[in-house]
Assembly symmetry: D2
Homo-oligomer: 297 residues x 4
C-alpha cells in the first residue's frame, strides 16, 4: 500500500480519493474547502493543513483542479511551489482537465528537475468517479505509465496510455470534442426524424444499429423517455453539465488554434453549447442541447 | 417462391436482383441498359422489354432508381404509369433513396387506388448488396411490412420498420446525415490529435472505447493505415462515394427545410463534403473527407 | 400607357399594382382573394374574374406568387395555362421569388413557343413596394430587359440586368444569402462587443467605418436603440420576416445543391434562422436573430 | 514636437515610426532586429540599445509587438520591465493586436501604479501604415484619448475611442471577426452566382448596391479581375495575409470563450481560413479564401 497526497476534493476528486482509501492506501488530503477535507476524513483520510503537508513523504501525488492556472500555480509558480517539496521518486499524477500547453510546460520543468510528472485527465463523470470506473488518458513515459497504473486502476476501468507528457490532455480534448459532435449530431437527427413523424425509440434503434451508431445512442440518448436512466429522462439533472462541456470545447479550440488544426464540426458544436448556455441551461446535463433544436411549446 | 418484377439494375439493383434469383424466386428484370439486363439473364433472370412487362403478373415489384423524379415517372406520371398495370394484391417495394416528399406523394396516390406501395431504402453499399447484408429502412403498414419482410430478408440483414409510408426515406435521411457528422467529426478529432503528436491507432482506440465511440471508429476509420480493410487504407477506393454522400445530404437538407428542422451540424457536414467534391474528390470514398483537414504535403 | 395584367395581389403585389395604376397604366388584376382584388379596384384597377381574363389583350403580364409551383401552375401546367392565352408580343414579367430551376424551366418552354418570359424578383420589402423603391434583379435578353425597364421603373429604383433567363432568381438567391450572413455576423459581433462592455452605438459606428462595414450597419442595425427607425428599435415588428428569410435561404441551399456550390456560411445562417424560427420568432423581423445570441433575461 | 520611444519595428511598426519622424517628432527606436533599427535611423530615428533606453525620457511610448506575451513581457514581467523606467506622465500606447485579457491585465497594473497605459490596435495593413491612413481603435479614458489623439493622427485617419482600457482590443476583435465573415460570405455568394452563369462584375455590382453590400464588395473584391487594384487581381499578393486573419480569429475565439459570447459565424469563418491555411495559403492575402469554394482546375 502506498502513501498518497491528494489535492483537490471537488465532485470528482472527493470520490476518487475515497476509492483510494477504500483500497487500503494511506491518503493525505488537502482542499481549500475545509468541509471537503472533513468529508474525506470521515472515510479514513488524513487531513493536511496545506498542499505542501499533503505531499510530504508521499510516493504518489494526485491533483484534481479546475484549470491550467491552478495546476501551474500549485506546482510551479505559487507561493510555495510543490515541486520544491516532493519526496524523491514521487510520481505526480495530474488528473485535472487543463490545456495541453500548460500540461506540457509543467512537464518540461519537471523533466529538467528530474521530477516524475504525468497528465492523466479522466472521463466518466461523477458517477464514474464514485463507482471507480473512470477512464484515464495518460501522458507519460512507458515506465511512468507502468508505475501509475496500479493506482489508476483503483479509480478507473480503462487506463489508456496516450503518449508522452501532454498526450493525455490532447487525447481528452480530441475525445470530448468528438463527443460534443456526436451529441449535437444525434440530437439533430433525432429531432428531425421525430418532427417528421417517426417514433424516437424506433429511430434511435435504427440509427444505433446502422452507420449512425455512436456512444450517445448506446448509452446516453438525448431524447426524453428513450432511455430511462439517461439524464434526458430525468429532466437533464446530473450527468455532465453544459458548462463543463463548454469549458472542454474551449480547450479543444485552443489546441486547434495553437496547432492550426481545422475544427469546423467542433467549432459548430461549441457554438451550439454556447447558445444553449446563454439561454440559462449551463447547469443542465449536456444532452439537453437537444432543446436548441426543438419547437418551443 | 414468388414472381418478382425488378426495375433498375445498377450497382445496387443488379446484385439485389441476383440474390432473389439465387434464393429461388422468379425474377423478371428491366433496365434502360440492355447490358445490365443481359448480365442478370446470365444468372437466371427473365428479360422484360419494358417496365410494364416486368411487372405483369408479379406478386412483388421492386424498384431501385436514382431519384424521386424517376420513381414518380415510373409509377405515376410517365408515358405508361405502372400503377395502371399492377396485378391485384401486388406489393410494390421502392428501394430507391429519394426525397421523403415524393415517396409520400406516390404512396398517397397508391393508397387512393388501393395499391400497396412501400418505401424501403437501403444502406450498406455495393458490398452489402452483393453479400445480401443490406439494411432496409421500411415505411409501411404493419401488414405490408410483414408481407415484404421475407423478400427483404433475402437481400438484407437488418430489416427495420421505421413507420408509415415515407418513414423509410426519413429514417435513412436522418441516419445518413448523422453518418456524415460522425465521419467528419472523427476525421477532425483524429487529425487534431495526430497533428499534436498522437499515434492515430492509439487515439482511435482511446476514442473508440470512450465517449467518442462511433461507427466510423468501429468499422470505417478514415485515417490511412489504422484499419487495413477500410477504404482509407486503400487510397479511398471502393466504399461509399463522396458524390453519393453529397446527394444524401441534399435530401436531408430538403427534409430539414420542408419541416423547418434545424440542422447546423448536418449543414456543416454538407459544406465539407461539397468543398471536398469541388476539389475533384467526388469519386473517392466519403471517408477521404479527412483530406480537407490535413496539411498539404 | 400600357395594358397590364397583374396576378397576385399580396403584401407585395398589391402596392406594386397600385403604383402602376398611379402612373397611368391600365391594370387588370386577379387574385384568389376577392378582398385583395376589391382593394385594388378602389384605386382604379379593373377586376378580372380569372387569370386568363386578366392577361387577355395585355401588353405586359406581371405575376407575384409565393413559390415555383404556383408559377409553373399558372403559366404551364394548371387547368388553363396562361401561355395559351397571351397576346402576341406580350412580355411576361414574373416578379415572384422562386427557385432558379423552375424559372429556367418555364423560360425554356416560353422560348420554344416564342413567348417573352423573364424573371424579375424584387428586394426592398413591403415598404419598398409601397414607395416604389424596390430593387429588381432581372433575367432577360437585352431586348426584353429594355422593354421591361420602363414598367419596372414605375415600381422600383434599382433595376439590375443580372443576365439571361433565370439570372434574376440566381442573383437574388446569392444576395439574400449574403444578407443573411451579414445580419447574423453583425449580430454576433455586436453581441460579443456589448457583452464585453462596449457601447452598441460606439461599436456599430467603429465597424461601420472600418472593414466590418456592411448594409446592416448602414441601414438596419439589429441592436435595439442604435437606429430609431430600424425594426430592432420597434420590437422587430414590420420589416422582413424571419419566415421569409428562412424561405429564401431554402432557395439558396437548393441552388447550392444543384450546382454543388459550397455554402458553409450560408448554411450556417440558415441553421441560425431555423433555430430562431422554431422558438416562435418566425413572424418577427429577421434582424431579431440577434436574440439567439443574447443572454436570457 | 514630442519625444517618443518606439518599440517594435516590423512591417507595421517601421512605417508608423517613420511617419512620426516625418511629422517632426523625436523618435528613439528599438527592435531585436538591428537591421530594422538601422532602416529607421536612415530616416531620422535615434537608435536605442534597449527598450529601456528607448523609453527613457519619452513623453509617449508606442509598442507594436506580435502577441500578448510580448507585451506583458515588455512592460510587466520581463528581465527589466519598462513600467519601472517610464518618465513621469508618459503615455504608453500599445498598438499591438493582442488578446483583450492581457491588455486589461497590463492596464490594471498600470492603473495601480498611476501609469497611463492605453490599447490602440490598428487596422489598415502595411499600406495604411505607410500612407498614414490606419484606423486606431482605442481603449482609454477620455483624457488619455485626448492626449493620444494628436500622435495617432499622424499615423492614422480614423481614430476611434472604443471605451475604457481593453476596449480597443475588443473592438478590433469584433471588427475583424466580422470582416472574416464578410469576406467568406462574399466569396461564397460570388462563387455560387458565377458557377450558375452570372458575370462576377455584374453580380458584384448588384449585391454592392443591394442588401448584400459590404466592405469587401466596395473595396476588396475577392474575385480576380473585378477590381484591378485588389489583391485578387494580383495573385493575392500583398494585402492582409491569411495567417494574420487566422491569428485575429484566434483572438476573437478566445474572447468568445472567456465571455461565453456565441460565435457560430465567426467560428465558421475561422474554420475556413484554417482549412485554407493548411493547404499552404497562409502567405496569400486573406481574400484568397475564395479558392476554397472554387472548382479545382
Amino acid at each position: 500500500m502506498a502513501n498518497i497526497g491528494f489535492i483537490g476534493l471537488g465532485n470528482m476528486g472527493g470520490p476518487m480519493a475515497a476509492n483510494l482509501i477504500k483500497a487500503g492506501h494511506s491518503v493525505s488530503v488537502f482542499d481549500l474547502s475545509k468541509a471537503a477535507v472533513a468529508t474525506l476524513v470521515t472515510v479514513g483520510a488524513t487531513a493536511a493543513q496545506s498542499a505542501k503537508e499533503a505531499v510530504t513523504g508521499a510516493q504518489f501525488v494526485i491533483s484534481m483542479l479546475p484549470a491550467g492556472a491552478h495546476v501551474e500555480g500549485l506546482y510551479l509558480s505559487g507561493d510555495d511551489p510543490l515541486f520544491d517539496h516532493l519526496a524523491e521518486d514521487a510520481l505526480v499524477i495530474d488528473s485535472s482537465t487543463i490545456d495541453a500547453k500548460t500540461a506540457q510546460k509543467v512537464a518540461a520543468v519537471a523533466a529538467q528537475r528530474d521530477i516524475n510528472f504525468i497528465d492523466a485527465p479522466v472521463s466518466g463523470g461523477v458517477g464514474g468517479a464514485v463507482a471507480g470506473t473512470l477512464s484515464f488518458m495518460v501522458g507519460a513515459s512507458e515506465q511512468q505509465f507502468a508505475n501509475a497504473k496500479p493506482i489508476l486502476d483503483v479509480m478507473g476501468k480503462n487506463i489508456f496510455h496516450a503518449g508522452v507528457q501532454g498526450s493525455g490532455q490532447i487525447a481528452k480534448a480530441c475525445n470530448n470534442m468528438l463527443l460534443a459532435i456526436l451529441m449535437t449530431g444525434t440530437s439533430e437527427a433525432l429531432n428531425m426524424g421525430v418532427k417528421n413523424g417517426l417514433d424516437p425509440k424506433v429511430l434511435s434503434e435504427i440509427m444505433r444499429l446502422s452507420s449512425g451508431g455512436n456512444w450517445a445512442l448506446e448509452l446516453y440518448n438525448p431524447f426524453p423517455g428513450v432511455m430511462p436512466n439517461a439524464p434526458a429522462s430525468n429532466d437533464y439533472q446530473g450527468g455532465f453539465q453544459t458548462d463543463l462541456m463548454f469549458k472542454d470545447l474551449g480547450l479543444a479550440m485552443e489546441l486547434s488554434q495553437l496547432s492550426a488544426s481545422p475544427t469546423p464540426m467542433g467549432s459548430q458544436a461549441r457554438a451550439l453549447f454556447n447558445m444553449h448556455k446563454v439561454k440559462g441551461n449551463g447547469g443542465l446535463d449536456f444532452s439537453s442541447v437537444i432543446q436548441q433544436y426543438q419547437d418551443q411549446d
